[in-house]
């Protein structure tokens, strides 16, 4: 995190007028892909978007870590399973009818989890509380989060593919690289399709977010330019693509994929962890349907 501070990455998505780097959402997606390639255990995705919502100086600079609670508080005023919740100084999320930023002590630790990520539950009603707007205003930040997370997941998938290609070229069985077996080749050949398709979709979502004008949701005509719909599409498609790419890469490592000394198992776990901390892609697809296809009842 310290090294990121020097690069200005934490506040890069904040307008220059508010002391930030003035970067577009499309820029953040590019940064997130690199982050995903490195499966860097830093809460940069959440922070970059939180900083756009709540641009206090120490957040823009990154001295204070901010994050997003992806789901509203429960009945007791707790945000559950907040990404970066274990380390964040400020949490932004929905509490009842309000979108609030809450500054209180970070717990420093949280539940052990699949991605070894700094998740934690956070209290929305303790500490310094700032109302940023109504709950609905969080929708845009959530679409930004889905888009930038999709970028990070593209990075995970792309790196997992590169690792797999290196491995199957260097690992020999039956006297040849296992990458010369058609079964392996056909299995790997799908991955770049999904990765490159997912990247284009993520870029388009970011483009729609940057454009800032209302778009179309006409799926019957394959004419979708609405930011929220595209962000949701990118999240669903790339979450599945990253899960699949890391699964295949792990598989083609044979037993070595499971050994903790090989990195691929971390890619496998983070591909799942970074997506599911929000939700099941299938449930997101059902919500997407509500946006694309009006309900008749």
């Amino acid at each position: 995190w310290e090294r990121l501070l020097e690069t200005g990455a934490p506040g890069m998505g904040v307008a220059e007028s508010r002391g930030g780097g003035g970067a577009s959402l499309s820029d953040l997606v590019v940064v997130a892909e690199e982050l995903g390639r490195a499966i860097a255990p830093v809460p940069l995705v959440e922070h970059m978007i939180a900083a756009r919502l709540f641009s206090e100086a120490d957040i823009v600079s990154g001295e204070a870590i901010a994050t997003l609670a992806l789901h509203p508080t429960d009945h007791s005023g707790m945000w559950r399973i907040v990404p970066a919740g274990a380390v964040a100084d400020v949490v932004i999320g929905v509490d009842g009818a309000d979108l609030v930023a809450v500054r209180n002590d970070s717990p420093g630790g949280g539940p052990r989890n699949h991605a070894a990520a700094p998740l934690a539950n956070r209290n929305a009603r303790v500490g310094e509380r700032t109302v940023l707007g109504s709950a609905r205003e969080f929708d845009h930040a959530l679409a930004e989060w889905k888009t930038v997370t999709a970028g990070a997941l593209v990075g995970i998938a792309a790196q997992a593919l590169d690792i797999a290609v290196d491995y199957v070229m260097s690992r020999h069985q039956f006297g040849v690289p296992i990458g010369s077996f058609q079964a392996v080749q056909q299995g790997l050949a799908d991955l770049p399709i999904h990765i490159e398709g997912g990247r284009l979709l993520t870029y388009k979502a970011a483009w729609a977010g940057d454009r800032g004008t209302p778009g179309f949701t006409d799926a019957d005509d394959c004419n979708v330019t609405d930011f929220a719909a595209l962000a949701s599409m990118a999240f669903v498609f790339v979450a599945d693509a990253a899960a699949h790419a890391t699964d295949r890469s792990l598989h083609y490592h044979g037993g070595y994929g499971f050994a903790e000394e090989y990195d691929i198992q971390l890619f496998y776990r983070r591909a799942r962890g970074w997506a599911l901390v929000y939700d099941d892609p299938s449930r997101e697809a059902v919500r997407l349907a509500d946006r694309l296809f009006a309900r008749s009842n």
């Binding site: 499309s26 593919l161 290609v165 199957v168 070229m169 040849v176 690289p177 990458g179 010369s180 077996f181 058609q182 392996v184 080749q185 056909q186 790997l188 050949a189 799908d190 770049p192 399709i193 999904h194 490159e196 398709g197 997912g198 284009l200 979709l201 870029y203 388009k204 483009w207 729609a208 454009r211 799926a219 019957d220 005509d221 394959c222 979708v224 330019t225 595209l230 599409m233 669903v236 498609f237 299938s282 697809a285 059902v286 997407l288 349907a289 509500d290 694309l292 296809f293 309900r295 008749s296 009842n297």
Partner: protein, 381 residues
């Protein structure tokens, strides 16, 4: 990356929609399915008259390559019978790229009227994926060539004015280096056409070549250069010349029908419709990328392979889901009372399997991707 359409492409798109609305009647679509001939001269002529065709020949330079993509994206979404004009424009592009001036004069204006269709003779009964091994022989005889052999899957041979024909001209060199492409008139003596009906409704043909004599001026792209010429054609075909938006009208048909019968509120149906919409968007973006590459002077061969594999397999998945969800009504054919989406759901179930075969099977395309994109060794197949 700017995903907005430039104004001239939007105008082009609107013009396509206008022409299709005026020229493609329900009767024309019915005729396509009852005859098995996926072509409409009414549409072709209307597009020619509106100046749409000459802008859509790859590499001709009359229009932005983005327009080419837009043309087939729109025609496919509107389910216009575009298959044969697509092939014809693609071949016109190949002739423009590698043909002689004389060949260009012969073929391209004919194609651009919408009347002079072109069919392709690559595959043979014994050589499909392994097209480099084809056996149809062309033997030089002075200023002429004499061609003997047989081709399979020569779709539109019964209507086409022109044929491009892959032949073997050299037995002394490795297989793919001994091939020569010809372009020739379909009324050249010695060519016979036999229909091959298919389960997907579309009629295709077997064609036979019995001492077909053509002048040397019909050699396309040079003697023993046939493999290279076919590569140009495949890069056009797998990229932007149609076939990658075919799930869009299927989604529209299913969605509209599901609304009518009350299925559209079923959560499983909703999840699947959303996933198909996502796949359609990704297929569109992959296709658009091919167009961008073409627009900047590249030849999107590998990107075309990726697009084709993705779009056709997504279409098959969508067809399977939608036919299953339609239940018994998904079995009924066009215009039968109670048929899901008036029969389109059933039709797509019969049509979709062929799409992972023609223009290169999914296996061949995956081999390409593995070897040329991932850099894996030539497969020990």
């Amino acid at each position: 990356m700017d995903f907005a359409l430039p104004p001239h492409v939007e105008a082009y798109r609107d013009e396509i929609r206008r022409v299709v609305a005026e020229s493609v009647t329900p009767e024309i679509i019915d005729r396509q399915h009852s005859s098995g001939t996926f072509n409409s001269y009414e549409l072709n002529r209307a597009m020619a008259k509106a100046g749409l065709l000459e802008r859509a020949v790859p590499g001709l330079g009359k229009g932005d390559p983005i327009e080419l993509w837009m043309l087939f994206h729109e025609l496919e979404k509107l389910q216009a019978p575009y298959d044969s004009i697509s092939v014809s424009l693609m071949v016109a592009g190949v002739i423009n790229a590698v043909g002689t001036e004389w060949q260009k004069e012969q073929v391209i204006p004919s194609v651009l009227t919408g009347e002079g269709l072109v069919c392709m003779g690559y595959s043979e009964p014994d050589f499909g994926s392994d097209v480099a091994s084809i056996a149809t022989r062309a033997v030089r005889d002075g200023d002429e060539w004499v061609i003997n052999g047989a081709k399979m899957w020569t779709t539109m041979a019964h209507e086409a004015k022109w044929l491009i024909l892959l032949t073997r001209t050299n037995l002394e060199v490795p297989k793919h280096k001994g091939l020569t492409m010809f372009v020739l008139p379909m009324d050249t003596p010695g060519i016979t056409v036999e229909p091959v009906p298919t389960m997907g409704t579309e009629r295709t043909n077997a064609t036979f070549y019995d001492n077909v004599r053509v002048g040397h001026e019909w050699v396309l792209g040079g003697v023993d250069e046939g493999w290279r010429v076919m590569g140009v054609a495949l890069a056009y075909e797998r990229g932007v010349m149609g076939g990658t938006s075919v799930a869009v009208p299927l989604l529209r048909h299913f969605h509209e029908w599901a609304e009518q019968v009350g299925l559209a509120d079923d959560p499983i149906a909703r999840e699947r419709m959303a996933r198909v919409a996502i796949d359609c968007e990704v297929a569109k973006l992959l296709t658009q990328r091919c167009a961008w590459i073409a627009a900047t002077g590249g030849l999107p061969g590998l990107e075309g392979s990726m697009t084709k594999v993705f779009a056709t397999e997504a279409y098959q998945k969508a067809s399977r889901w939608f036919q299953q969800m339609a239940g018994p009504q998904g079995l009924l054919q066009f215009h039968e009372p109670g048929a899901a989406a008036d029969g389109w759901i059933e039709y797509d179930a019969r049509h979709c399997p062929v799409t992972t075969i023609y223009g290169g099977t999914s296996e061949i395309n995956r081999n390409n991707i593995a070897e040329r994109h991932l850099g894996l060794p030539k497969a020990r197949r």
